[in-house]
């Protein structure tokens, strides 16, 4: 990852107080490679490397800072600028809508998030509106049981909007209602219409896009589609317990002008954390 190669590249600047174009170019190339290896969108990589190059050459390193430290600091600043802080939301009553690609981890995350709110002293519940996936109801029931939260499912219903309506009513005594939806992608027009209809019914306070940490260059288009369909307030990055760097989440956040709400780090209901920008960025850069 960037770890070793950025260190090597920055070594070339070590000992020098002047930053010359050639050595900055070498550092920029290494950064580009690391960002691409981390799945950051190609256009965003170019944008980032342009600002890093420009700032490295035009900004004076503060007194006592080596050229090397200066460039490293710029890289971190630029990344933090993009990724932002964890998504803000109140520890209070609210409705949350989860959407995202097939298999990204929505159903698992709904249980994790419900349990997370429970531990904050709020009563959370889940509504499962997936009418398509075989076994979705049973999966939600079992996950809700593990999270020790109520779950509204209706295996015989075939209208997700109807289920959402009934579910929100059934969970009336829950402070936080989490609405899970079937997976869908940007090119499935009917399904995009469906999520719009669900969103319209639910009127969520928080719209979360659930993304697999390993998503590649398609992250930009997918995020764009969900942004246009339902609006994205925050991103949940799942499966960060693997080796994927999560650059797609960075892209999604940039594309939707949102932030990262939670990260998933395992299959169990306790495997959820709030987002830590520094941890995420240093992991992404290798």
């Amino acid at each position: 990852g960037l770890g070793s190669s950025l260190q090597d590249a920055l070594e070339k600047l070590a000992g020098s107080s002047r930053i010359d174009e050639e050595s900055v170019e070498e550092v920029v190339k290494d950064i580009q490679r690391a960002l691409l290896q981390a799945d950051v969108d190609v256009d965003l990589v170019m944008e980032l490397s342009d600002s890093i190059r420009e700032r490295s050459l035009s900004e004076e390193p503060p007194a006592g800072t080596s050229a090397r430290e200066h460039v490293l600091h710029i890289v971190y600043e630029e990344m933090v600028e993009i990724v932002g802080d964890e998504t803000e939301f109140p520890l209070d009553s609210q409705t949350i809508l989860l959407s995202g690609l097939q298999g990204s981890g929505k159903t698992t995350s709904s249980a994790k998030i419900a349990r997370w709110f429970n531990r904050k002293g709020l009563r959370a519940g889940i509504v499962q509106t997936d009418t398509f996936r075989p076994g979705a109801h049973e999966q939600s029931r079992q996950m809700a049981e593990r999270a020790e939260v109520p779950c509204h499912v209706d295996p015989d219903a075939d209208d997700p909007v109807e289920i959402a309506r009934e579910g929100l009513e059934a969970l009336d005594d829950c402070d936080v209602k989490i609405v899970d939806t079937a997976g869908r992608h940007a090119l499935e027009a009917e399904l995009i219409d469906e999520i719009e209809a669900i969103e319209h019914e639910v009127q969520p306070d928080l719209n979360l896009l659930v993304l697999d940490a390993s998503i590649g260059q398609g992250a930009k288009d997918q995020a764009q589609a969900f942004e246009e369909a339902v609006g994205v307030d925050g991103v949940v990055i799942t499966k960060l317990d693997g080796t994927a760097k999560g650059g797609g989440a960075l892209t999604a956040v940039h594309q939707t002008d949102s932030s990262i709400a939670f990260i998933g780090v395992g299959e169990d209901v306790e495997d959820i954390e709030r987002f830590d920008p520094d941890g995420f960025i240093s992991r992404l850069l290798g």
């Binding site: 490679r33 981390a38 799945d39 097939q102 298999g103 979705a136 090119l187 590649g216 260059q217």
Partner: protein, 279 residues
């Protein structure tokens, strides 16, 4: 006239970006770029061809070469092999293993071959229910055991069932697992060792980025995969993951998953994928 390195480099850089934007892995992209450069430097350029065309053609050939690595025809393999043919499916979480198994059961049925599914995912919430509903929809038999059972024995049971009932193919599902979990990768090795499947198919999704290479490598070393099923190709994925996976494992892509329905399964066509990627 002869092609020189310098004039090539600019074009190759552009192609490199194109490959990276299509999810081909960074190292794989570099190796392919070098392969193309080597095949072109010093070559005589025909007066009619533009430099760009030459490079794109060379790239096209290099990519198809990577993908057509020892391809095997799943359908004819299964038709000719001694029965029952035991196929185990593995891969990371959520890529489409269970759905692909259902699709393949349907495909085999259409070819006059009987199959039994085995739910080796004895861990995930709703896994039994999911595969049972597929089996019901397809009117096929599935062997399931209660959550927490040993996955190896479920698949083993299915093999015994197939032998006793003259079923042609056993389709063994397994729980999604990340290669970062030592326990789960050891469990996969055990399944392979005890069941000794005729085919091990690695399932991954076309929407995956750079990590596709890492997991293909890890799964190949744990389970010696014979082929790959690449799912969610309908999500407008450029298909670079296919290139990366084939390049790194030397194993063929056997099927493409092109949707959530039972008939959304296509035989992989290298030329088609490369044409799309390069357009």
């Amino acid at each position: 006239f002869v092609i020189d390195e310098e004039s090539l480099d600019g074009l190759l850089e552009e192609l490199e970006i194109a490959l990276l934007s299509s999810d081909v892995e960074v190292e794989v992209t570099r190796e392919i770029k070098d392969r193309v450069r080597d095949s072109l430097v010093g070559e005589k350029k025909h007066w009619r061809e533009s430099k760009e065309d030459l490079v794109v053609d060379a790239l096209h050939d290099a990519l198809v070469d990577v993908l057509e690595v020892d391809g095997f025809d799943f359908d004819s393999y299964v038709q000719d092999a001694e029965k029952p043919v035991v196929v185990v499916f593995t891969g990371v979480n959520g890529v489409g293993k269970t759905t692909s198994i259902a699709k393949i059961a349907e495909r085999l049925e259409n070819q006059g071959l009987s199959s039994v599914m085995a739910n080796g995912d004895t861990y995930r919430a709703g896994a039994n229910q999911q595969i049972q509903e597929h089996a019901e929809a397809l009117d096929k038999k599935v062997i399931v055991r209660e959550q927490g059972s040993d996955p190896t024995s479920v698949i083993y049971d299915a093999v015994e069932h197939a032998e006793a009932n003259d079923v042609d193919v056993v389709l063994g599902d397994t729980a999604g697992r990340l290669h970062t979990s030592d326990d789960l990768m050891k469990q996969l090795e055990k399944i392979e060792r005890v069941v000794e499947p005729d085919l091990t198919l690695f399932v991954d999704e076309a929407v995956a980025g750079q990590d596709a290479v890492e997991r293909a490598r890890e799964f190949d070393s744990a389970a010696e995969i014979d082929g790959v099923v690449l799912t969610k190709a309908d999500a407008d994925a450029q298909g670079g993951a296919a290139i990366s996976i084939s390049h790194v494992t030397g194993k063929p892509i056997v099927f493409l998953g092109t949707g959530q329905g039972y008939s959304d399964l296509e035989e992989f066509d290298a030329e088609e994928l490369v044409d799309r990627l390069l357009e």
